[in-house]
């Protein structure tokens, strides 16, 4: 699975799901409604920034705290095609993959990417390429069966395919 896209937003360390989809702003669980309020408490312009559809770069422990799936649903609906983080909190890691939102763990990446950078992530090869520098970084290995799940669009499409 190869994803080519542009960095549209950058968020720091320990971004909790409570901030990605704040209970105060959630009035419905429809993806389009969640997308509108994605990260509203941290960055009021987030949804607008992600409209062209692109990459979100994050620091350490992205998606920590509550297991709510509103967080990856909101991000995906807002236009996030790929999240590249130093590392993810474990429940968010699973939830993002299950919902078909591609994620990449790449230690040291936060300093190397800026908004506007073009990147190419190859999940099978385990590599992330930064266009501006030509640098090729290793990403944390994702088990094959999870890459397959992502390429099918998530856990539900995978179960549907079984039937």
């Amino acid at each position: 699975m190869v994803i080519q896209s542009k960095v549209l937003a950058k968020l720091g360390d320990n971004i909790a799901t409570e901030m990605i989809a704040a209970a105060a702003f959630v009035t419905s669980s429809k993806p389009e409604d969640l997308g509108r309020i994605a990260c509203k408490g941290i960055d009021p312009d987030f949804a607008d920034k992600m409209k062209p559809v692109g990459v979100l770069v994050a620091g350490k422990n992205f998606g920590c705290s509550s297991s709510r799936e509103w967080a990856p649903v909101a991000l995906k609906a807002a236009g996030v095609r790929l999240i590249i983080a130093e590392f993810f909190a474990r429940i968010f890691y699973r939830n993002a993959i299950n919902l078909g939102l591609p994620i990449v763990e790449c230690p040291g990446i936060f300093e190397k990417l800026e908004i506007g950078d073009d990147v190419e992530a190859d999940l099978e090869k385990g590599l992330l390429r930064i266009s501006k520098s030509g640098e090729c970084l290793k990403i944390s290995a994702m088990p094959k069966f999870l890459i397959r799940r992502l390429s099918l669009g998530g856990l539900i499409p995978e179960l549907e395919k079984e039937s």
């Binding site: 320990n14 909790a16 409570e18 901030m19 704040a22 209970a23 105060a24 959630v26 009035t27 419905s28 669980s29 408490g41 350490k60 422990n61 920590c64 705290s65 509550s66 297991s67 709510r68 799936e69 590392f87 909190a89 474990r90 429940i91 699973r94 939830n95 299950n98 919902l99 088990p143 069966f145 998530g154 856990l155 539900i156 179960l159 549907e160 039937s163």
Partner: protein
Amino acid sequence: MNITEKILARASGQKSVKPGDIVEARVDVALFHEKAGPGFFENFEKLGREIWDKNKVVVVADHAVPPSNIYSANCILETRNFVLRHRLPHFYLGKGICHQIMAEEGFVKPGLVIVGADSHTVTQGAFGAFATAVGSTEMAWILAKGSLWFRVPEAIRIKVEGSLSEMVFGKDIIVKIFGILGIDGATYKTLEFMGSTIDELSIDGRMTMCNMVVDAGAKNGIIGPDQRTCEYLQYRADAFGETVQSDSDADYARTIDLNVAQMEPQVACPHSMDNVKNVREIQDIKIDQAFIGTCTGGRLEDLRAASRLFRKHRVHPEVMLVITPASNKIYQRALDEGLIQTLIQAGAMVTNSNCGACGGGGMGVLGENEVCISTASRNTRGRMGHVSGQIYLASAATVAASAIKGKVTDPREMI
């Protein structure tokens, strides 16, 4: 192997496993509540599958019960309809918080694999089970298949020694540990607690400790079962066998030794669970709201600790104290012991048993710049309401003392 590895090995039909292995473990109990359920109901129905074993599914409506808005009301209705459609025998509505119900109603046993669509499912590790959290969509997989993939985690062993001083509790121990580990210090790992302090710790205290591990990033928290565990669960000790304790030569990625003999009451300050201080260091911070409740700190031990202080004192006139017992059984015991009478007379608002104020859904939402001290497990920005709200996390005794003085207060000053 350590206890977590043994449980995962047995659950995946293997002689032994090691950290990093990917296993497919059979699930013994699947848990979800009314806010997680609606996330997968529609998809599950579309798949047209049968639930693998109805007896192994526990459904508890607890997050916002009774509901304070239409969205929450619809969540309860959808959940109840799903339960009726599939004839699920274990459904609890308005009886208390799911993690407390799980323990009280006999769904937990040492050695089981318990998976819940709620982070604090990890609470059940207090009984020597492997208990972990997943999201809603993953629950659809579990209901269809009765098993789930896991990467076997590395483990951090935390040995706690020393007798706790008066007014110092399990909550103080785990908050102290957060200060050492940081909120990402246990990411993807097991936190295994042992030592003489843990041996002496009440089940309520053990549940509080295991409850919070998820917020240090852990996959699970666990305490080897003992006589105390047996008594609480009314479980036969001779059924344990050797398989649910860690081997003495088990491997750990990290070992932490903590002596709590001189430990003071601890507080996690805004806006992170690892922003930890001794209560004494932050006394005089004015508070608007105090909250005693949740799956972290709403048990009988917590209500008793708070009541003890309220026998001689009243809630400060400028403070709103909300008390939400973790289950109806706890609420009833507290009534029998006269604790509720004491609390109400002192000026507390005692609500029905549910998650309440913890997640900002109702029964104690924080307004602009409001300051709250709470027995809950999370103080992330926006957790309880307005993003400018400030949440201090502490034991029930510390929360009670603070509610009396109107500012963060060391409970030892009140005795």
